[in-house]
Symmetry: C2
Subunit: 323 residues, 2 copies
């Protein structure tokens, strides 16, 4: 595999050179007792091989490879590089049949701890520009292993949507000297029409211009740039876990599948006073959840311009009423 840059959109495309064989296993490689099927452990809690609650392992069919450097090079006017990066699986629970939303608050907080630990660790590697934590729930979301799990990728480039986000936040900050997402949070909390649920530290709402019905974001109410620097103590992890679990419950009552994506600051690091610091002080970490509803194939007109058939004000009302 190699990465090729689209000179038009400046986004990277993973280009496979030969089809890889389908992953065939008759027993679940993520279940306790089958650890030999993915022997390398990147994170385990509690420590020690037996009786683990959360475990992180390298992906069995990784999109990115950790060895070496990116070997960025030109091909005439085009740009390409190796598929350098990391691709990991967060095994969320030993129980094969217990999805994230049905796990205890404490357990979900432990999963968040694993996200934080892996993000922080991967950010120490300055070959990587961005760490993405995400989970595909359900067949329609492309979930490939049935055991409850999330995925983490580390890439030598910033993925498209995050890039647009960083640019908008930077421009807004330059113009207003305020964080765009802080302003969004304040307006949502004051208008109250799109808020689904909040607690002392975090708020969940349907965004003003959602890409899909029931799209929901969860943000810290106060300004925090990086997920992995903010969610470090147990109180905060637990309160976020409570809200996340509740939101997943609500969404699962209206949609059969979803993508969940953590948006955190990129790995632009500069050395100041002996410490590595993030450049993106105008950014505000958050979770984005995109429910996936069964639908027919889309016309081009609805690919280039998002089209949403449900008002976020209605969606939020419906989600608030889920018991």
């Amino acid at each position: 595999m190699e990465l090729r840059k689209d000179p038009i959109t400046q986004s990277w495309v993973i280009q496979e050179e030969e089809k890889s064989a389908a992953l065939e296993t008759d027993k679940c490689p993520l279940c306790p007792g089958h650890e030999a099927l993915c022997p390398q452990t990147l994170y385990i809690q509690p420590l020690g091989q037996s009786n683990w609650q959360v475990r992180v392992v390298p992906h069995l069919r990784p999109l990115y490879r950790i060895e070496g450097d990116a070997q960025r090079e030109a091909e005439g006017i085009y740009d390409k590089m190796r598929n350098l990066g990391a691709h990991e699986i967060v095994v969320e629970h030993p129980n094969h049949n217990l999805p994230l939303s049905r796990q205890s608050e404490e357990h979900v907080a432990q999963v968040l701890q694993a996200y934080v630990a892996r993000c922080a660790d991967l950010k120490r590697d300055h070959r990587f520009r961005y760490i993405t934590v995400f989970r595909n729930q359900g067949m329609l979301a492309g979930q490939d292993l049935s055991h409850p799990h999330s995925e983490i990728t580390a890439t030598p480039f910033i993925p498209r949507r995050v890039g647009y986000e960083l640019r908008s936040c930077k421009r807004y900050f330059e113009m207003k000297e305020r964080c765009l997402l802080c302003d969004i949070v304040r307006q949502e909390l004051s208008q109250q029409v799109r808020v689904v649920e909040r607690n002392d530290w975090f708020v969940a709402f349907c965004p003003f211009a959602p890409r899909v019905p029931y799209e929901t974001w969860i943000l810290p109410i106060e300004h925090h740039v990086s997920f992995e620097e903010d969610l470090v103590n147990w109180d905060r992890q637990l309160l976020f876990a409570r809200l996340l679990r509740s939101i997943l419950h609500r969404l699962e009552s209206v949609a059969p599948a979803y993508h969940l994506v953590v948006h955190t600051s990129p790995n632009f690091a500069v050395k100041t006073d002996g410490d590595w610091q993030s450049l993106a002080e105008d950014y505000h970490w958050h979770f984005e959840i995109m429910p996936i509803l069964p639908s027919k194939s889309k016309s081009y007109s609805l690919k280039e311009v998002y089209y949403n058939s449900l008002l976020p004000e209605m969606a939020a009302g419906e989600l608030r009423n889920v018991v």
Copy 2:
């Protein structure tokens, strides 16, 4: 319906307020003899209601409405406007069962003439920033009416991908003082590995970083900013029609469906010396064709970063060999 702007990606979302009813007709509204089902004619060739070969009518379930102005306004820090615009159907042939690729070269050239005429007409309306001509071929591409047809939209904003394209072309021109797409054409013609077919004036190739297997672009070899200003005489229309028809034939042998999109300059107009002129001199019009292969639902990792399982060098070779 209204348009809402995503403050993060700066792209517009069409927000439906209530679900519109499904379009139910027991007879094809685009067939000759049924003109009363879509009575308003925007373009017809040859002139006169009977015996037409190509006809353009307003869309039966339009995404955009032509009346009034955009009523751009704020909602707190958010931006919204009416779904001002145009949405038209190009009926490509009187024969319900003759797809574009099986129509004669001369007939395809007539369809191109209709595109050109409608683009030029809609560009005269300075409420619109961009005119998109596209066609959805096949169920997987979201084709809704079975009669061979294309669609045209005029919007008060520039669609996402075209916006990225314009930005890249502008930056490249600023740096190199050359058109990005001219450089791409020159490299493709000299490398010869991704070219599918060419003639004296136009070239078709698989791009270096394709989003999907068999993605193909068709460009004028010489620099031309706007489709509707370039493809005005019959010789050029006919030569382009010949290449387009051949490329569609090749693609239909490997893919059951595709989106075809005309990329032309935007409707940024400035008055100079009494004439309206385009600002985007660094742009180069082209057709993009994105074949759609049946596939399972996509993981999030393959939505944020495009993933292509077939090298464009192999795809071009395969398409060249189609007889």
